[in-house]
């Protein structure tokens, strides 16, 4: 504000002469009016997300995928598990849009059925992570002190456990099924979320507006709900969008190893595994469709997560 040629030293705001200041706008009243439309945090974030083409493309892809996952298997005249030996390895055609696999099952139907499984596993994993992680991280960060360091020790130990190995171990013992996959993924999955929430809460709980709320006598649950959580929502949502592709990958990986969904039911991992032998004989469509949709779904969630990370960061607001 002051230029270097100012010779007079300023010791307190009262020493600053009035003529150092001048009105930025000619009309001081005009400066008081809000020039840009008032936007809530979410509206602003949405506005900024819309500018990110790649993230929006990801979002559109996911919405279409979600719709097709619901109506795809209904639209198709075939049933996921229906085998039809004479029709094996038919290339994509009008009858079978994505062709058929080694047992004559319709790849189109199986792909959308697999989309259901993948999206379901991904969303469930994200939801469970959300609830466990937010409660654990919230309590740990808000309580602070000894509770916090004890809870963080537990997290530190859980964090060291090799995630997929534990999941494999649990699946071997509990037997492969959709429920066990979700349980197994959730057992260790929430740790990252809890860490993020805890870090955020730790930072925010000392801000003035929380203090103000406390001094009004607001009770702790309400402070957590009304003051802390809304302000940590950004990183939480980003973490959730990045949990989903991880869970989808884990499901595909486990199904591929034979620990997930069991053939004849379809998941993208199962389909990729079934197709392994077939592609060497040139039946590319058996692998192409599940592989394409796994990759693109993960891609879509990743770019959407990246976009949300930028959109939800108040520091990047222009």
């Amino acid at each position: 504000m002051t230029s270097s040629d100012q010779t007079k030293f300023v010791h307190s705001p009262a020493d600053i002469p009035d003529d150092w200041f001048k009105w930025k706008d000619k009309d001081p009243e005009a400066a008081e009016t809000v020039s840009r439309p008032s936007l809530s945090y979410w509206k602003d974030a949405w506005k900024r997300l819309k500018k990110n083409k790649l993230a929006m493309a990801g979002l559109v892809f996911l919405v279409i995928l979600g719709i097709l996952a619901v109506i795809g298997p209904i639209l198709s005249p075939y049933v996921v598990t229906d085998q039809n030996r004479p029709d094996q390895f038919l290339p994509p055609s009008i009858d079978h849009w994505f062709g058929t696999d080694s047992l004559g099952r319709d790849v189109f139907t199986r792909t959308w059925y697999g989309a259901r499984i993948s999206l379901f596993v991904g969303l469930m994993a994200a939801l469970i992570d959300f609830f466990v992680g937010v409660i654990y991280g919230g309590v740990s960060g808000y309580k602070g002190g000894r509770t916090d360091s004890l809870m963080m020790r537990i997290i530190e130990i859980l964090y060291g456990l090799p995630y997929l190995l534990v999941v494999i171990l649990l699946l071997v013992v509990m037997g492969p099924s959709l429920t066990t996959i979700i349980i197994a993924l959730s057992v260790t999955g929430w740790v990252g979320m809890a860490r993020i929430v805890r870090g955020q809460v730790l930072q925010i709980k000392n801000f003035e507006f929380v203090l103000a709320s406390k001094s009004f006598g607001t009770r702790t649950p309400r402070i957590i709900r009304k003051n802390l959580l809304p302000n940590t929502m950004g990183p939480i949502i980003v973490q959730m969008t990045l949990t989903v592709p991880n869970a989808i990958f884990a499901e595909a990986f486990l199904s591929f190893l034979g620990l997930g969904i069991q053939s004849p039911y379809a998941s993208w991992g199962v389909m990729a595994n079934d197709a392994l032998g077939a592609i060497l004989s040139g039946y590319w469509w058996t692998l192409f469709f599940p592989a394409f949709f796994i990759s693109f779904t993960m891609f879509a969630f990743n770019v959407l997560g990246d976009g949300l990370q930028d959109a939800l960061d108040p520091k990047l607001r222009k």
């Binding site: 020790r153 530190e156 130990i157 060291g160 456990l161 090799p162 995630y163 997929l164 190995l165 534990v166 494999i168 171990l169 649990l170 071997v172 013992v173 592709p245 990958f249 595909a252 990986f253 591929f256 190893l257 034979g258 620990l259 990729a272 197709a275 392994l276 592609i279 060497l280 590319w284 692998l287 592989a291 796994i294 990759s295 693109f296 993960m298 891609f299 990743n302 770019v303 990246d306």
Partner: protein, 310 residues
Amino acid sequence: MLGYILKRFAVMVVTLWIIITLTFVLMVTLPGSPLNEERTTNETVQANLEAHYNLDEPYYIQYLLYIKSIVTFDFGPSIKQPTETVNDLLGRGFPISFELGMATIIVAVISGIILGIFAALKHNGIIDYLAMTIAVLGISIPNFVLATLLIQTLAVYWNILPAATWSSPVHMIMPTIALATGPMAIIARLTRSTMLEVLTQDYIKMARAKGLKPWKIIIKHALKNALMPVVTIMGTLLAGILTGTFVIEQIFGIPGMGKYFVESINQRDYPVIMGTTVFYSAFLIVMLFLVDIAYGFLDPRIKLHTKGGD
């Protein structure tokens, strides 16, 4: 520093204990006895067998024996291949898996860092977009999909690389690429973002003002700081690569530990599953510990912190 190492060591021991206990509890809760399949055995034989494997002892004795067997590095026999012990399988398979893992890490770290640096230096340029597109694709394409794609194109279609087995360095190329792409992408993204942050710091401007050559600034000043986050996630990446070897070895027919592990899962060969899980978990947890220690040595702030804490 010593306090930091001791603290990390304590965490490592507890984590190891949890995984060992978890495997034991899961093994005990498994329905039926591991010996149930031999229907022909009469009661005396069954009792003798149980005594042989200490299955007639109470759980806490079994637990202690189990811990003893792990500490002495003896994981017992395989049930489905009675002539082999889990140790035999580990001894045969692990070196190969280790080779694959090391090759993967080297490729992933070097290419990831180079990609990240170029992306950061040409921020918002074509190279940046190209590198980051490769990175997001690398994260999004599962390694087993990439592996089959590689086999289909490089081995079947163009026939330039051998499709399977593990007998020469040429055989290593495809599995390593398939396994390294994901970690490479993560490293590239991380290097890029920290590099971008570091490059705006005052000491970089200072170095530039001194007239240092650009590559010297990058290597001596920027890279050193930009690599810290890469060290931090090495543990997680290692875990990913290790579990990745399970499918990659299966697809490429590599006779590593991962292949035995997957076979043991499919055959429900519990001693092999448990032994491998404990072995791999211990391996990873120790690696994580070493990474943490390395991080402590590299980051002076941690040293300061513990000095103050003592």
